[in-house]
């Protein structure tokens, strides 16, 4: 059976350290914004940590929520692209084909999670950061959209390895950079089509919710938190 990749994020474990953000930058060749552009809100982070505050100071609690592309099954970003640059791959990933993108940014408007990023300029890296580019990931030119891929390059690598060794992909074998780097082990990645996988069990546990579920986009990222 085909894979259907999904993720579970335990909000009760997340402490907002943003290690996932840094790991994502390193893994996926994200451009480094200069301070002026970052202040304008043009920094690119495929995963970000949203903060929600509860209560009044000093009785205040901060809740963290890592938000990345939710890889929706019925993604609002897909049908609006005039050139099919954003489409659904057979494993349920919502992929962006950079070469096709002409930069209408319609997908960005239609994403309820605001997780799509536009390259306002040609990407730049301050020396020596350009030396640590990941050779498995394309550098996106200026003028195209980009977003989280669930580290599709790692998925493909594991699948190739498994095929070479003539065995199925084991649960937990694929680890996107954010999952791998999470010190609290708040993030779990796996195959939702495998009912025994850890992510499937977490997704069907009573603690799982999905972000803006009421919009009907059917995201494949599950947020776990205790019931009230």
């Amino acid at each position: 059976m085909a894979h259907r990749w999904g993720m579970a994020i335990d909000l009760d474990r997340c402490m907002g350290c943003e290690a996932c953000v840094a790991a994502c930058h390193a893994e996926n060749n994200l451009p480094v914004s200069d301070p002026a552009q970052a202040a304008k809100g043009r920094a690119v982070h495929w995963i970000r940590v949203d903060r929600y505050y509860e209560g009044e100071f000093p009785e205040i609690r901060v809740k963290y929520m890592p938000v990345l592309c939710q890889q929706c099954d019925e993604a609002p970003c897909e049908p609006v692209c005039p050139v099919y640059a954003t489409y659904h791959n057979p494993e349920g990933l919502n992929v962006q084909v950079y070469n096709r993108c002409v930069g209408t940014r319609y997908c960005g408007n239609n994403c309820p999670y605001s997780v799509r990023f536009f390259n306002w300029f040609e990407p730049k890296w301050t020396a020596p950061l350009e030396l640590q580019h990941n050779p498995d990931v394309a550098i996106r030119p200026g003028g195209v959209m980009e977003k989280c891929t669930f580290c599709v390059q790692r998925i493909e690598r594991v699948k190739l390895d498994a095929k070479a060794e003539n065995r199925p992909v084991a649960d937990g074998e694929v680890q996107p950079a954010c999952v791998q780097s999470c010190p609290a082990e708040a993030m779990v990645f796996g195959d939702l089509n495998d009912p025994e996988s850890k992510v499937s069990r977490l997704a069907s546990s009573g603690r799982a919710t999905r972000l803006l579920e009421e919009l009907g986009a059917k995201p494949k990222v599950f947020y776990l938190q205790r019931g009230k």
Partner: protein, 438 residues
């Protein structure tokens, strides 16, 4: 009022052809100024292509801003013409005759300008042709279900239709002109006249074609602005996903179209000395139409905002709040004054309704309608569903230059057009005069 000036039939040609053959200093100055402003806009665009879209003020989450606002604005202006001229033609309004050509020309030019904006707005404008369906080896095919492809087809159809609609009644005029000119003008008019011979078959076919085209163009014009509205309404963004958007945009388009027509007619009347042709009655009638559309616009706006406010859904209220009492409130209330208060007071009170107040109101409506589109595009994008992603937007000199230059481009195109072709359909007007129906 209608009998203010009597025109002798043999003077019609003289009056309407004169601007073609005589060029005054002021015309040249206007042409050069418009050309320079247009060139400045082109230079700004070149800079933007070279540097990247980062030279604009856009930032996540405001992915669309000034250019899309201008796109909707100019497509709206294009309804001036064709739609109004088509309605007047279908209802046999006699007063339309000196007005239609000026209106149809606005349509064609506004569409040419408006059609540029989606390309200016692209991240990679040099590959805009990837949206066109033709066999290629990129293994790439356009996605026909994207509202942007609907836009492409709708605007292509509308431009084709309105060029033909402008061209058909121009044929007898250029045929007449070809007989009275020499040199390149003769060659141009002769070619454009398609060797029109003024036979009754030709007149019959022309009248029938114009009647048909008036009906067809109405159908396209309504659909075009509906499709533009659907670019927004088909998305899931708060206050965009609204069923009212199609008719709301069509209303706004006709509203701003009439305003543009009034402004252009006032300028043409003054500069080309056509006071005897563009009479107070024309401005009076158009002003009444403007008031009607102002009321209709007010009704739609109220319907849109009141239902949202009463429904009190948090995501939509964030956008509505930003528009009516947040950072965009000054723009919002300016819009209300420009689109409703000014035209309603100045033109609704009969004693105040003159050519001057009609022109002032029309100019106010143009400002107001531009703001309306801006307020639809930007606040919604700046307030997406997850508050953590909220952002702001302010235009840069590049966007202001390019959008400003399009007004110069409109002036430039109009100046050239009025130098090549009579701005009032001469044969229609002669028919009008000889039938004693002035």
């Amino acid at each position: 009022m209608a009998t203010a000036v009597q025109i002798r039939q043999d003077k019609v040609r003289e009056d309407l052809w004169r601007p073609l053959l005589q060029t005054r200093g002021r015309y040249v100055v206007a042409l050069v100024l418009a050309g320079l402003a247009g060139a400045w806009g082109l230079a700004a665009w070149g800079y933007q292509i070279y540097e990247g879209l980062g030279v604009t003020g856009k930032r996540r989450p405001v992915m669309w801003a000034f250019y899309i606002t201008s796109f909707v604005f100019w497509i709206g202006i294009s309804h001036a013409g064709t739609l109004i001229s088509a309605i007047l033609r279908l209802t046999h309004s006699r007063w339309r005759k000196p007005v239609t050509r000026a209106a149809e020309a606005i349509t064609v030019f506004a569409l040419m300008i408006g059609g540029m904006f989606p390309i200016i707005h692209l991240g990679r404008p040099w590959v805009f042709y990837w949206l066109l369906p033709y066999p290629n080896n990129r293994l790439l095919w356009p996605n026909f279900r994207s509202p942007l492809l609907w836009d492409v087809t709708a605007i292509f159809t509308y431009l084709t239709g309105s060029v033909i609609y402008l061209y058909l009644p121009l044929i007898p005029d250029v045929a007449h002109l070809a007989e009275h000119t020499t040199g390149w003008r003769h060659a141009l008019y002769r070619a454009l006249s398609l060797h029109w011979t003024s036979s009754d078959r030709e007149w019959h076919a022309l009248e029938r074609a114009m009647k048909l085209m008036a009906g067809i163009i109405l159908a396209v014009a309504v659909s075009v602005h509906t499709v533009v509205a659907w670019d927004f309404a088909m998305s899931v963004a708060p206050m965009w996903h609204s069923t009212i958007f199609g008719p709301y945009f069509v209303t706004g388009a006709i509203f701003s179209g009439i305003a543009a027509l009034l402004v252009v007619l006032a300028i043409v009347r003054k500069t080309m000395h056509l006071e005897a042709y563009l009479q107070p009655v024309h401005f009076d009638n158009l002003a009444k139409l403007l008031v009607l559309m102002s009321l209709l616009w007010f009704y739609f706006t109220t319907a849109e905002y009141l239902t949202t406010w009463y429904g009190n859904e948090p995501w939509e209220m964030a956008v509505l709040g930003a528009r009516v009492r947040g950072g965009y409130a000054p723009l919002f209330w300016t819009m209300v004054v420009c689109n409703f208060v000014i035209p309603f007071v100045l033109l609704g009170i009969q004693r105040l309704r003159t050519i001057r107040t009609a022109t002032i109101s029309a100019a106010a409506v143009l400002v107001g309608m531009w703001l309306e589109r801006f307020l639809i595009v930007v606040p919604t994008l700046a307030h997406p569903r997850l508050p953590a992603a909220w952002g702001t937007y302010a235009p840069t000199w590049v966007e202001i230059s390019i959008c400003g230059a399009t007004f110069a481009a409109m002036a430039l195109l109009y100046l050239v057009f009025s130098k090549l072709f009579p701005i009032i359909a001469v044969w229609e007007y002669e028919e009008h005069v000889s039938n004693g129906r002035i």
